[in-house]
């Protein structure tokens, strides 16, 4: 059926599958390539790493070929060729490493292009040609012949072309060659073979694993392992319970001379079967790659979460009803039992909600990897020497939070590289190690994840920031700037100092954009910097937007949520210490006067402005705001701390909020709209919806927007 209408969706599906699969392989490839680079520059043995890279490229090729992506398959194939040269002992050097990196970048780009809506496919031809040239010029030491080797014909016939070349090369290097017969237990076949392979890797190199056919009783499974080692292989080198015998099949040749490029006489007998075996290798890889993981569209997990949240609201309503019933019939056993049942259901529901949230958590590893790739690339293209350390890459975070977090995090690390880390010469002059350090660390703190981006570069120069601020009229001439002020200043829109304008990136540095994206995640960013010693940026975001930690406050009987991250502290107001100044209220406290804004007035709830706050004591204030303008927002009381679900409010109410914030009904600017969305975000449900009563929907307030908007809307009117 050539015109089968289902063919197209099928193809699209296989495209999606391929992209997901390929990205996973490329991620692993990125890690291994980085390790390979490290091992290479440290002069450590790296044969196993090349093998790992080779295997990954091989399965990428298999996938691309099977699912119909010839461009990617063909580039992977050329890369595989080059790698197989390296496996055979071809020289690895900086040029080859660069080529590997370039190819990886191109493959990443090509896979990205396959995503729906991406641009035109790039031409991978030129890179493929470079790989081919490199492969053909990479000098592979010619192996020696196999004469005099006590190798049974059946094993020799089973060797692949690569294995045979490896055998020749290792023999030429004077390695001891042994045949190890193992008989793993059929029930733990995989485990035993892995164990023996691991032990062999410690003593030498495993060239091939060949099943023994015909010699043993039918029930037993046995393998012959062809091993090369620098010293004779001993029984103690291997797990003895499964090893049947070790037989040396070659006496080392005294520094075997290369045979001068003479091809071995006659075609190796194993050639035909070997290449046939390679043909199906792709399928075997596919079968072997089945994992205990299941790939699920995020959308479906979203649905589960939404339904669970909805259910918890319904059950909370039920619980309230049952409680009322119990209060009315205190002696009724049925009512009491029902109450206990409902409490049990609530508890289980809460654990279900937690599971639904956890199902969406992914390790930060993926972002860290992307950052690592960027650092490696930047270090190669700039004159800087940088090493990246990552800590806590296993820390888990919600998939959507991670996706939203990736661009700002990349931006922060790019900034650290561009503006933080000095050139090697400059660092030497400052008696620092030539090589700069960037540390990316993550850890979980309650319902939040804290990510530090630390560099040991030049830090934020107070003078530079002050000068730039003065030039932009942000501060008066000769203004004494504190470091807190300077650190706050870098988050101003469009702010960049001459010292910060990058010669590499040329970006105007959007720290304001970074802060806004982090705030959109209900997170915070804090900067600490010591001039000359480095900068630490601390980003704190909730693990999941499905559970943003917040304080629930009460104002005029209505509840509001304020994200915990945006609150500095909560204070109890002492009426005696509140005084009126310039039409506003000030709370006198030991550490200095705290200007107050009343939430009911900010929100237009106040019936009359005449009701002086001083008349009713026992009020509380939420202290929020930046270093420059710290304000206490007066509320009637605290309901408590909750983890809340945040939902966008929808477009109908945006205009109102815009007016409230700016005092004008203008066409909303995209930037402002972003801020307004935050102000108006909604709590859909909470962990303990019961305690919030009927009002399942609660407004989430952004104190900074409130403070900024307070002047416009006339909180003191």
């Amino acid at each position: 059926m050539p015109d089968d209408p289902t063919e197209r969706p099928e193809k699209e599906r296989s495209g999606r599958d391929f992209v997901a699969e390929a990205e996973e392989i490329l991620d692993a490839l990125t890690d291994d390539l980085r390790e390979l680079e490290t091992a290479f520059s440290a002069g450590r043995p790296h044969h196993e790493l090349i093998n790992a890279v080779f295997r990954e490229v091989h399965s990428l090729k298999g996938f691309a070929g099977l699912l119909g992506f010839p461009q990617i398959a063909s580039l992977s194939h050329a890369l595989e060729d080059l790698l197989s040269r390296l496996r055979l002992g071809g020289a690895l050097d900086g040029t080859v490493l660069d080529l590997l990196h370039d190819t990886l970048d191109a493959l990443l780009g090509a896979v990205r292009d396959l995503r729906p809506g991406a641009g035109v496919l790039r031409d991978l031809g030129p890179l493929r040609d470079r790989l081919r040239r490199a492969a053909s010029s990479s000098g592979v030491p010619e192996g020696v012949g196999l004469e005099g080797l006590d190798l049974p014909g059946s094993i020799r016939a089973a060797l692949t072309e690569h294995e045979e070349r490896r055998l020749r090369a290792l023999r030429a290097q004077g390695r001891r060659l042994s045949l190890v017969r193992v008989r793993p237990h059929p029930q733990s076949l995989e485990k035993h073979l892995q164990e023996v392979a691991r032990r062999i890797a410690e003593a030498g190199e495993l060239i091939s694993t060949v099943p023994v056919v015909g010699e043993e009783e039918v029930t037993a499974i046995a393998f012959d392992l062809l091993v090369a080692s620098p010293r004779p292989l001993l029984a103690a080198d291997l797990p003895e319970e499964i090893v049947v015998r070790i037989r040396e099949i070659d006496t080392p040749r005294a520094a075997a001379a290369p045979t001068g490029g003479t091809p071995p006489a006659g075609a190796p007998p194993g050639d035909a079967s070997a290449s046939a075996a390679q043909g199906v290798e792709g399928f075997e890889d596919l079968a072997a790659s089945s994992s205990p993981l299941l790939r699920v569209p995020v959308r479906r997990l979203d649905d589960v979460l939404v339904q669970v949240a909805d259910l918890s609201i319904a059950v909370a309503t039920l619980e309230r009803g049952v409680r009322a019933l119990r209060e009315r019939h205190t002696d009724d056993r049925l009512a009491r039992d029902l109450g206990l049942q409902v409490v049990g259901v609530l508890k289980r529901l809460r654990s279900l909600q937690r599971s639904a949230i956890e199902a969406r958590l992914v390790p930060l590893e993926q972002v860290f990897r992307k950052v690592g790739r960027m650092v490696a690339r930047a270090a190669r293209t700039s004159r800087k020497e940088v090493e990246l350390h990552t800590l806590g890459a296993h820390t888990e975070i919600d998939k959507s939070v991670m996706d939203a977090l990736t661009p700002p995090l990349m931006h922060l690390v790019a900034n650290a590289l561009d503006h933080g880390i000095e050139s090697p010469e400059e660092r030497e002059r400052a008696s620092k190690p030539r090589r700069g350090r960037v540390v990316l660390s993550a850890f979980r703190k309650g319902a939040s994840v804290v990510i530090d981006v630390i560099d040991d570069g030049r830090g934020i120069g107070l003078e530079g920031v002050r000068g730039a601020a003065e030039a932009r009229g942000l501060v008066g001439p000769g203004h004494e700037m504190t470091s807190e002020e300077a650190h706050e200043m870098i988050f101003r829109p469009g702010f960049s100092t001459a010292a910060m304008v990058s010669d590499v990136s040329g970006r105007g540095v959007g720290m304001d954009v970074v802060r806004r994206s982090i705030k959109a995640l209900k997170g915070t960013i804090v900067v600490r910097s010591v001039e000359g010693q480095g900068t630490t940026l601390t980003v704190t975001v909730p693990i999941s937007l499905a559970m943003v930690p917040a304080i629930i406050v009460r104002s005029r009987g209505q509840r509001f949520a304020i994200p915990l991250a945006s609150i500095r502290e909560n204070v109890r107001l002492d009426a005696a210490r509140v005084r009126v100044k310039d039409g506003g209220e000030i709370f006198e406290r030991p550490e200095g006067p705290l200007p107050l804004l009343r939430l009911d007035r900010l929100l237009g709830q106040a019936a009359s402005a005449a009701s002086a706050m001083t008349s009713d004591g026992g009020r509380y204030a939420v202290v929020a705001g930046g270093e420059k303008r710290t304000v206490g927002i007066v509320v009637d009381g605290f309901v408590g701390r909750r983890e809340v679900v945040v939902k966008p409010i929808g477009r109908f109410l945006l205009g109102e909020i815009e007016w409230f914030l700016t005092g004008a009904r203008s066409v909303p600017e995209p930037d402002r709209v972003l801020a307004t969305v935050m102000f108006t975000d909604i709590v859909g449900s909470t962990e303990r919806a019961t305690e919030l009563g009927d009002a399942a929907a609660v407004l989430v307030l952004d104190p900074e927007a409130l403070i900024a908007g307070g002047g416009n809307a006339g909180a003191t009117s």
């Binding site: 237009g604 939902k647 966008p648 909604i682 859909g684």
Partner: protein, 131 residues
């Protein structure tokens, strides 16, 4: 007897019920309708969370099936007297370009198949009124 209905958003001229008809409801003793196409569901009115600085017709927001719905009181939108406190009401949930709107009415009465049987609210005008 009820005063004549205001010009907007109610309008008998501009919108006739589509082939799918209209959903008829009552407010303050008169029968009106909304096009049935965008109607998602009808739920019992259980109050809404007030939103500061919203337009008068906007009663607030409510959570329904994990979504946030902007709740508009049709009485307030039409300048009719408010409902008696404690009297029952229903919310007609409609979808507009991905966002949800809840129209608070006294009660939903019937589905109307024939155009012209009932005065149908102009939803576009209503949306303009609230945002």
């Amino acid at each position: 007897m009820p005063a004549p209905p205001p010009e907007t958003p109610e309008s008998s001229r501009s919108v006739a019920p589509g082939p799918d008809g209209a959903l008829a409801f009552t407010v303050d003793g008169r029968e009106l309708g909304v096009p049935i196409g965008p109607v998602v569901e009808i739920v019992t009115h259980r109050g809404a969370t007030p939103v500061p600085h919203a337009r008068p017709a906007v009663e607030g927001i409510m959570a329904l099936r994990g979504r946030i719905i902007t709740v508009v009181d049709v009485r307030r939108g039409l300048g009719l007297p408010p409902r008696r406190p404690g009297s029952a009401a229903q919310v007609i949930v409609i979808e507009s370009a991905g966002d949800h709107l809840g129209l608070v009415v006294d009660s939903v009465t019937r589905v109307v198949g024939q155009p012209g049987e009932v005065t149908v609210l102009n939803l576009d005008a209503l949306l303009k009124e609230i945002s």
